[in-house]
Structures are given as C-alpha cells and as structure tokens.
C-alpha cells in the first residue's frame, strides 16, 4: 500500500519566483527564508518520495470566476505552468499520475467530497514555487497530483471541512495498492493581507500558535469560521486552509522534523514545516 511519509507546508509568495530567477538566495533580505529549505531537501533525500500530492489555491490562472470549484483534483498526465501576468519565469512541466488521481477522486467522492476533476490544468506559483524550493534544479523526481482549494471567492470551505478533506485524502492515499512513497504538500499563508486599508496586516502570535497546533492539536484551526480566520490572519492568510488539508492526511501524533518562520517575505509572514507521521 502507498505510504504517506510526511507533509511539507510552506508559503508560496510570487516574489520567491523573482528571487530564484535573480539568484538572491543569499541576499540579506531573502536568506532567512531560503535557509529554511536545505534541511527540507536533506529530508526529501532521506524519505525519497515517488509522488507529491500538492494542496494549494489557484490565483486566477487555471480557474476564473466563471467556474469556481470549492475543491478540484487534477487527473492529467502533465501539468504546465503559464504566465500569470507579472512575468516571473515559467517553470518546467510536472509529471502527473492519472491512475493515482482517479483512485483519489473515486475514494473522495465515495466519502461525499463532490469534487471537480480536471484532465487539463495549468498550475500557478502556489504549485510551482514550493516544488522549486524543494528541487532547485527543477528536474522533478516525483509524479504529482494537484488538489486545489477555493480560498479566493467566499463562501470558502470551512477549516473543519478542509481538515475532513485531508483525513479522507489520507485514507485515499493509504488505500492505493501501489508501493509509492507520498509527500503531501500544503502551500499558502501564513498571515498576510494584500488588499484594503488593512493591507500589510501580519499576526505573528496567531501564526506561531497555528504552527504549534499543526504538531500538538491538529483540529485547533477548525474552531474558527473562515471570516474569523481572515480577521486573525488576513484576507490571503486564509490560504492556511491548504495547510489544514495537508495536516489532515497525517495521524493525530506527528514528529516535527523542522520548522521555519520569517517576517516578511514581500507582504507575507512565511512559514515552513515538515511533519512525519507517528504510530
């Protein structure tokens, strides 16, 4: 049976793409952020995943507001990146795993998560940049399954629903008859707000409490409504829902392999965690 070897949760700010393109990894502004990733790469070299199931939100590349799925799962043989409008370099395509995708879709729909399935899908910076941070040579050694969560247009799925999706996704992955080693990624957040008079809002106390809950109390965030999460972490901080999904794929007890937190990257409090299942 396939095995979830751990989760990587990280921020996905577009400016990271610009910094990678310009080689700014050791620039004083960027270094505290990029320094979080060599240990992730060492961990990946140890756990040797075959597949990454990547939970993220689209920012108006694949989905427009004409059709906005709450949850969507990719089922393509390949996922391409494309121009998002601000000219950061387009990254190489990602291999998919249609058989695993359809297995996950079947299992999730059987568990009453009525998904949108995508046999064609372009992936944006929320998918590509975390991959590039993990594999800077961009020769992706893994197959991928995108899981897209609506964090753009309210009503958003609740944190409680996202956690349950993660739990169902974990069961679906574990029931795949292959022997794949799977890493689940969740990207977005942590606290930030791009829009409105409250632009620039960051909440370090909340972020650190949330990161702690990822280890010790995984359902903690589910007590909040999505508008409460906006109040606590900003209009785009609500992307932490993708972390909640990823966390749901792991058992109650986890080992914290590493964590990094830095303010600011662009307008964002950046968080990074690697967790492994225990028991």
């Amino acid at each position: 049976m396939a095995k979830i070897v751990g989760t990587i949760t990280t921020s996905h700010v577009p400016a990271i793409g610009g910094a990678i393109a310009k080689g700014l990894q050791n620039d004083p502004y960027w270094k505290p952020f990029f320094d979080g990733f060599p240990p992730v790469r060492e961990w990946l070299a140890r756990v040797k995943p075959d597949v990454v199931v990547l939970v993220y939100n689209d920012h108006g590349l694949n989905f427009f507001l004409d059709k906005m799925p709450t949850f969507a799962v990719g089922a393509a043989a390949e996922y391409r990146n494309a121009d998002e409008g601000w000219g950061i370099p387009t990254l190489p395509p990602f291999r998919g795993d249609p058989e695993l995708s359809w297995h996950l879709i079947e299992q999730l729909v059987a568990e009453e998560f009525d998904l949108v399935t995508c046999q064609e899908m372009v992936v944006d910076h929320a998918f590509t940049l975390p991959m590039a941070l993990c594999w800077p040579d961009m020769k992706w050694p893994v197959r991928t399954v995108p899981v897209c969560v609506n964090t753009v247009q309210a009503p958003l799925p609740s944190a409680a629903r996202c956690y349950k999706l993660g739990q169902a996704l974990g069961r679906a992955i574990s029931s795949w008859p292959g022997d794949e080693r799977v890493v689940v990624m969740g990207t977005g957040g942590l606290s930030h707000q791009l829009d409105g008079e409250r632009a620039g809002f960051i909440n370090k106390e909340f972020d650190l409490r949330f990161m702690d809950s990822m280890v010790t109390d995984p359902a903690w965030a589910t007590k909040y409504s999505t508008s409460e999460i906006v109040e606590l972490s900003g209009t785009q901080g609500v992307e932490l829902l993708n972390w909640v999904v990823a966390r749901g794929t792991l058992p109650q007890k986890v080992h914290k392999e590493l964590a990094n937190y830095h303010i600011p990257i662009s307008n964002t409090a950046s968080g990074l965690m690697v967790l492994e299942p225990l028991g």
């Binding site: 507001l65 247009q153 008079e197 409250r198 620039g200």
Partner: protein
C-alpha cells in the same frame, strides 16, 4: 427569495463574496485576460478600447483610469486579479500596500518589518 447576505465583519477589509463577485465580474474578467502578454500589450496600446471590450461600468473604468486599488476593490475587484493589472505597471505588493494605506513605500516596508519584532 431573500438576497444572499453579505458579511463584511473585518474593518478595512472587503471579503470577496458573491456580492463582490457579481459586482466585479467584468473588471476581474479583464484583469484575468492580463495573464496573456498579448492582452497586456493591447491594453497599453488602447486602454479605452480594451476596457470597452470587457464592458466595464463607469465606476470600474474610473478606478482603472486612476490606478487606484481601493477604488478598484470598491468596484468589485479581487486582489488576485488586480495583481495582474498592477503587474502591467511593474508595481509590486509593497507599492500596492503603500497606496492603499496612504503610506510611502518605505513606511509600508517598515510596517511589515515591525510585524516581525
């Protein structure tokens, strides 16, 4: 049938809900088109014609003309789509943040740094 309720409980914040999505549809659709470099160039070449093609209302057209983010949000714009509009002018998120909060860019960046202390 009662109208869908709009809840905006967070000060200084417009949660992008169904009401905003309906109000801003044409504006966001135009901004979505800016994913394509050909469309970005077409906008720059003839802004009036491009806005007319997407059917922007007077409020949206004025907000685009003014490059004013708070006005664009008020006209139904969504941050993720407006970022594509800002990209045409090479503006980054600190430019956008400074404009919305009435700060200089340096003041806005200092505010972000201070949040980490």
């Amino acid at each position: 049938m009662p109208a869908a309720t709009s809840r905006q409980p967070v000060p200084g914040t417009t949660i992008f809900d169904g009401e905003q999505a309906r109000k801003g549809y044409a504006l966001n659709k135009m901004c979505y088109s800016f994913n394509d470099a050909v469309n970005r160039r077409a906008f720059v070449a003839d802004e009036d014609a491009y806005c007319a093609r997407y059917g922007l209302n007077a409020q949206q057209r004025e907000a685009i003309r003014n490059r004013n983010v708070l006005q664009l949000i008020d006209a139904g714009g969504n941050a993720y789509y407006l970022a594509k509009f800002a990209g045409i002018f090479g503006l980054d998120m600190q430019d956008i943040g400074a404009q919305q909060t009435g700060m200089t860019k340096d003041q806005f960046k200092a505010k972000l740094l201070a949040a980490g202390k």
